[in-house]
């Protein structure tokens, strides 16, 4: 995709602007103080490295088109270890390759942002939109007892806001944050009304960073604890941190759920369509609402209201997100699933038809 504005115009951008999701996330990352980007080409996220390749240099940051996803995520590890805000982006098969590095980031408690513009799978799959990386995103993906914060925007504007939040949360908790969008949200162009308040970054002081041991004891960044009991101790510390995140960082949008008898549970691009589903079905007299988790981990397990007759789970997958909805519902009402896989997309009408047939 061509860059549609002069570079200098983008740099000074203040007012409403039309941008693709991918480019908007890249610009938002720059404005959030990200000064290191390392990535590898893969569709449908190629606009991000292309954008970063000139924009990062404009702001004096580091950009490398790495030789592989493995190299890219480990360059992120290195940059993050020095206290600089760092990110990488990819799409499903590439994010699979990054899992080793994400586990190391979590183990070494390094803040970093990883963007996954999901596409069809498994394997090479295709380049259509999908939400089939839910398990990988929320269940670890790599080895060991660790968690990544996972945020899932449903508009380009929200992607901008959550990009900044991702960097803030990563720094606050010294933890990797995964920003999860899909091929459609990455490619679609939408107006951005506001870049939000993005000052010169409210930096958390990174007293642990590698900056050269001048006038202090040396710092080390590692996830290896070979001495008896030390790894267990480290894991306990991580789990305490994860509990804190579960307590403080749950984000969910409750859309027309106050008087709803049935609710749809959906996130990301599916949720966006389901808002229209709710509007249309309500105009036909159906008492329906939408529960839209914004943080997929920590998951809003308390969000499904009591007294609901049925929950419809909608996802571009064969049914992954539904597992968390089941935990949230905990047997209080029946749950139905409607999904599409393999890069196929559904229309508002198809979703309505699927729900109406099963109310």
């Amino acid at each position: 995709m061509q860059i549609f504005m002069l570079k200098s115009e983008i740099s000074n951008l203040q007012s409403r602007v039309l941008m693709s999701g991918n480019e908007a996330v890249a610009e938002a990352a720059i404005r959030a103080g990200c000064r290191a980007y390392f990535g590898y080409p893969i569709t449908p996220q190629n606009e991000i490295p292309a954008y970063m390749s000139w924009r990062m240099h404009e702001v004096g940051g580091a950009f490398i088109q790495a030789e592989s996803e493995l190299a890219a995520i480990n360059m992120v590890y290195g940059a993050a270890a020095t206290g600089v805000r760092a990110m990488t982006s990819s799409s499903s098969p590439g994010v699979s390759l990054k899992q080793e590095g994400i586990s190391y980031l979590a183990g070494s408690e390094l803040p970093a942002v990883i963007l996954n513009v999901m596409r069809g799978g498994p394997g090479l799959g295709n380049i259509g939109p999908a939400q089939a990386d839910y398990f990988q995103s929320t269940r670890g993906g790599g080895h060991g007892d660790y968690r990544t914060i996972v945020l899932a925007p449903h508009t380009v504007q929200e992607a901008v806001e959550l990009t900044k939040l991702s960097f803030d949360l990563a720094d606050k908790y010294r933890n990797p944050v995964l920003l999860l969008i899909d091929g459609i949200l990455g490619q679609m162009m939408e107006p951005i009304d506001s870049w939000g308040e993005m000052p010169e970054v409210p930096r958390v002081e990174k007293t642990w960073a590698l900056t050269g041991a001048k006038g202090r004891a040396p710092h080390k960044i590692c996830s290896f604890f070979i001495k008896d009991g030390m790894l267990e101790q480290h894991n306990k510390k991580l789990q305490e941190k994860y509990k804190k995140i579960e307590k403080n960082e749950v984000m969910v949008e409750m859309y027309d759920t106050d008087d709803a008898e049935i609710v749809i549970a959906a996130y990301g691009i599916s949720a966006r369509l389901c808002k229209e589903v709710v509007r249309k079905m309500r105009s036909d007299g159906v008492s329906i609402g939408l529960v839209r988790p914004i943080s997929l981990w920590p998951f809003p397990y308390n969000a499904i209201p009591n007294g609901i007759k049925k929950v419809f789970v909608v996802e571009l997958s064969a049914g992954q997100f539904i597992d968390d909805v089941k935990i949230a519902v905990n047997g209080r009402c029946p749950i139905e699933f409607y999904g599409k896989t393999g890069g196929a997309f559904f229309s508002v009408e198809e979703i309505i038809e699927a729900i109406e047939g099963r109310i």
Binding site: G78, Y104, G212, A213
Partner: protein, 254 residues
Amino acid sequence: MNSQIQNPKSQQGIFCRPESLKDVPTHYCAGCGHGIAHRILAEVIDELGIRESTVGVAPVGCAVIAYEYWNFDTSEAAHGRTPSVATGIKRVRPELTVFTYQGDGDLAAIGTAEMIHTANRGENITTIFVNNAVYGMTGGQMAPTTLLGQKTATSLKGRHELREGHPIKVCELLSGFSGVKYLARCALNKPNRILEAKKAIKKAFNVQIEGKGFSLVELLSPCPTYWGCSPEDSLKWVDDNMVPYFPLGEIKNI
């Protein structure tokens, strides 16, 4: 070049521990070359006066906890990703002197792609490559640099070129890349060679300090434990088996 000596005892001509090495016992086997490699590396860092602006990246392998011994900022890296971690550090903090310390498995097997591309980009970092022709940490398996005929835990009959291929000559492999500015192969089995190795390490660091590009020093290093010989015999083993295949000297200096 700033060559101030950090350690006051050294100034008095007394042989003592470099400031860049912590005063702790290491876990290395008797006769292992890592201790020597750590020592000369630390001496070079002291002599260049860069201890407070150096970051070392430790590998996965026998030197996995080298950061417990080095008295400057350090990072771990996943197996073979060592050059990528160093790249990330150096690109955002170019004022730091950044080196990787890697074994033959880390550098020439699982991390081959990272090594080649880091070298080819001419990343302004230095790599200390410890070649002992075997995987030590995991129990003496065949390495990419295991010599023909050498018996290991996974080549019980000895490495054969038709089965396992020939050992990789890392310096020669990297020498064709324009971004690579300094390559030297030294051995840690004799005092004069150890001094040569130290000189080579210093040259490599200076290449980085001058901003020229990628530098690497390969150290042929004894591993008596997995060569199945005494520490004394392992020094001879380097001469008899390694040096003929891995020729010593500066391979590149531009």
